[in-house]
């Protein structure tokens, strides 16, 4: 059973849900009961009013992620769950860096480094300046390392947000959900047309 661990990798789980108190806990415990750490979690209103979008990142095998995704989707207030490996999504994280203003003013090198890393000043005050950059983890990490020697005061990074490359958006799905009788689109059967890959007897 434990040899599965070699197949573990990052998965991006995208869930569309109702905006409901307690739902975050209901979703989180699906992971914690299996002792799986959530590496990143973002939740915010989606493009559709009243519908929230969760982005979660976990490191697990596809089989475990599929089971959890189904268990998430089974929750009464969850509309739809997708899971994708990194190559199927466009993803970004945002980072903020607070640096003493005098260092930047005095050292042209720092300014150049910031520009090289695509950082943008958000706030400039006499005592400190806050820069913002967006990218993959390695990119935001790199700027962090670069700024460390120059008196970095504070650093924060957001959760990952991810767009699914093949997604057609959620509007048409929602219309299906709002129909009293479920259409065939709604209860998609993952197996259709992919039985060869799915059934590993």
């Amino acid at each position: 059973m434990h040899q599965q661990s070699i197949d573990r990798r990052e998965y991006n789980i995208t869930a569309y849900t109702e905006n409901q108190v307690g739902l975050l806990n209901r979703i989180a415990i699906l992971f914690s009961r299996r002792k799986i750490n959530i590496e990143s979690l973002n939740t915010s209103p989606s493009e559709i009013e009243g519908i929230h979008r969760f982005n979660l990142v976990v490191v697990e095998t596809e089989e475990v992620v599929r089971k959890i995704a189904r268990q998430m989707e089974k929750q009464v207030e969850v509309l739809k769950v997708y899971f994708n490996p990194n190559e199927d999504v466009i993803w970004q994280e945002m980072a903020l860096y607070k640096v003493p203003t005098d260092v930047i003013a005095e050292r042209a090198l720092v300014e150049r480094l910031l520009r090289e890393h695509g950082a943008r000043a958000v706030v400039i005050r006499k005592d400190y300046t806050v820069f913002e950059t967006t990218g993959h983890r390695e990119e935001t990490d790199k700027l962090l390392t670069v700024l460390q020697p120059y008196g970095l005061i504070e650093f924060v990074r957001s959760a990952r947000i991810a767009i699914i490359k093949s997604s057609q958006g959620f509007h048409h799905k929602l219309r299906e959900f709002e129909r009293t009788e479920p259409g065939p689109e709604v209860s998609e059967n993952d197996y259709l047309n992919s039985r060869g890959q799915v059934f590993t007897m």
Partner: protein, 589 residues
């Protein structure tokens, strides 16, 4: 105003019970508590199991005016209340309803919620909660019951404003009973119970956009399943509680009889096909019958219907039915491929999918294959069953008690069992002619379940005899419910099989821990005297000649009766699949 003006719908089936919307607006403002009770009536609720307390007093105050319409059963402990509601739901097929107060009242429900969640029992539990303005302040009897119960409920919700109540309760009943049923908990703050508002009428819930209780049936999968079955040489059907929950007993029987496939059951599926049916080849799992366990590993096509491949059924998964093509019918998509990979998944309500499948399968018989089951039966009878049911030892066995009970009830009683050795014996040997005749704590294995569940079962099926079979360990966990029996005068037969041990754990200690009997030697009170204290008729039996007369006395007694049977102290349940073994390694001794 309802219910005076509008007749209550007859609670025939869960679907029709709420078919009529109650939209008559109230003439005067009513309290949240009263609105909640009107909602229960509209849902066809006739019985509530509960226990009052500070935060739910307004509900009880409103209940005072509904004593005629709603039968409230005062239990002795909230755990007893929820197990009774489970028994009620399992016997009747309706939603069980529980009232409890905040704090300890609510936390006492947790075991029952977990039990109902894992055994898919429809419940609506209503708990009182402190005033909304006190939430989060560690107020007296405040506990965060929503977060405590989230893992063990299908859905839960807190109501802080009476206006929400009708819609939330409508949702609660819809979620509890639809799809794969389960427990729902609604926590109502005291201010919401007291709050007066204009009740706009009650409208049952029939659709929630984010909730799909019934997957769409894909005919192409049914066709693939039928094709697999039609080319099978040694097919085997495994059925579970899904057949009962889908009220698909007739559809199931038609499928089995046309296809001619031998069928074995999980502990919660018991009774969907009568135990005496020629195609019923017995019980699956750790203490199930020899034939269906061994032959699961020899069949070529496995047809799993409304069952979830629990580890007590499968034993070691990597040694389970590796040779078989698996067809899995289930309403819950998360069960497909969870434990056993399905060759053909058939999602859907089995009441809907089974007739489609029956239509496409060929009428067959498998005489040689069925003979294999009979051969294994003969082995099991010789090695285990004969000595268990017709012992020659001095001491009584649990099996012969069940055998004698069968002779008297003729399989017509509802058998409610607790957890342990007596449970395995009762489930293995009880004769069941009708569906919804076996009620037990399967997935959670909750000792203390049977006594309160039997009380609830009797309310759920008052026309049927109810026999609770309980061990000397389990009865001491919820023995206070004898008080409920005393006060209500409900007619429940309690058959106490006393081996003066926590027998199942003792068996494991004997077999796997060198007979180191660590804390399994449990003492009992004098149950006959205890029962008498509760004004319940009782008797103790120790000798074989007294057994049948005593059982007859118990069954013929007009009211409740506790019969304690002293049975063999150190007897083991066989066959047995030891933990960590494949089902092929099942032991007969």
């Amino acid at each position: 105003m309802y219910p005076q003006e509008q007749p209550r719908p007859a609670p025939t089936s869960p679907e029709t019970a709420v078919a009529t919307p109650f939209s008559a607006p109230a003439a005067r403002p009513i309290s949240g508590a009263e609105a909640a009770l009107l909602a229960l009536l509209a849902e066809g609720v006739d019985t509530v199991f509960g226990y009052p307390g500070g935060a739910i007093i307004p509900m009880y105050d409103a209940l005072y005016d509904f004593r005629e319409q709603l039968n409230h059963v005062l239990v002795r402990h909230e755990q007893g209340g929820i197990h009774a509601a489970q028994g009620y739901a399992r016997a009747s097929g309706k939603v069980g309803v529980v009232f409890a107060t905040s704090g300890p009242g609510a936390t006492n429900l947790v075991t029952g919620l977990a039990d109902a969640q894992i055994d898919s029992t429809p419940l609506v539990c209503i708990t009182g909660q402190v005033f909304a303005h006190l939430l989060g302040t560690d107020a007296f009897q405040e506990t965060d019951i929503l977060n405590i119960t989230t893992p063990v409920t299908k859905w839960n919700h807190q109501v802080t404003d009476a206006h929400e109540l009708p819609a939330v309760l409508a949702k609660a009943f819809y979620i509890a009973r639809s799809g794969r049923p389960g427990p729902v908990l609604i926590d109502i703050t005291k201010n919401a119970q007291l709050q007066k508002f204009r009740f706009g009428g009650y409208r049952p819930c029939t659709h929630i956009r984010s909730y799909r209780p019934r997957p769409i049936v894909r005919p192409e999968y049914v066709a693939q399943a039928a094709a697999l079955i039609n080319q099978a040489k040694r097919p085997l059907v495994l059925w579970g509680q899904g057949v009962l929950l889908g009220q698909a007993e007739a559809e199931f029987r038609a499928f089995v009889e046309k296809s001619g496939i031998p069928a074995a059951w999980t502990i919660l599926g018991a009774g969907a096909l009568p135990t005496g049916h020629p195609l019923n080849v017995g019980m699956l799992g750790m203490h199930g019958n020899y034939g269906p366990n061994v032959l699961t590993n020899e069949c070529d096509v496995l047809v799993a219907i409304g069952m979830r491949f629990d580890d007590r059924v499968t034993g070691r998964l990597d040694k389970y039915a590796r040779q078989a093509q698996v067809i899995h019918l289930d309403i819950d998509p998360t069960e497909i491929d969870k434990n056993v990979k399905a060759t053909v998944p058939v999602w859907g309500d089995c009441q809907e999918t089974l007739p489609l499948l029956t239509e496409l399968v060929q009428a067959r018989t498998y005489p040689e294959w069925r003979q294999r089951f009979l051969d294994h039966d003969a082995e099991e009878i010789a090695a285990v069953i004969r000595d268990e049911l017709f012992p020659t030892s001095d001491e009584l066995t649990m099996g012969e008690v069940i055998q004698q009970l069968n002779e008297l009830t003729q399989g017509e009683a509802i058998i409610v069992t607790d957890v342990g050795q007596h449970q395995m014996v009762a489930c293995r040997y009880a004769r069941l002619n009708r569906t919804r005749s076996s009620i037990t704590s399967g997935g959670l294995g909750t000792m203390g379940f049977a006594l309160p569940a039997a009380i609830g079962a009797k309310y759920g099926a008052p026309e049927r005899p109810v026999v609770a079979i309980i061990g000397d360990g389990g009865i001491q966990m919820t023995i206070q419910e004898l008080g409920t029996i005393m006060q209500t005068g409900i007619n429940v037969k309690i058959l106490l099989l006393n081996n003066q041990f926590l027998g199942m754990v003792r068996q494991w200690q004997e077999l796997f821990h060198d007979r180191r009997y660590s804390f399994v030697d449990i003492q009992s009170p004098d149950y006959v005297t205890v029962a008498r204290g509760y004004r319940i008729a009782s008797r103790r039996v120790e000798a074989r000649p007294d057994l049948q007369p005593a059982l007859r006395q118990m069954l013929e007694h007009p009211g409740s009766f506790l019969l304690e049977v002293m049975v063999m102290r150190e007897n083991n349940i066989f066959p047995m699949v030891p933990q960590g073994c494949g089902i092929g390694e099942i032991r007969l001794k």
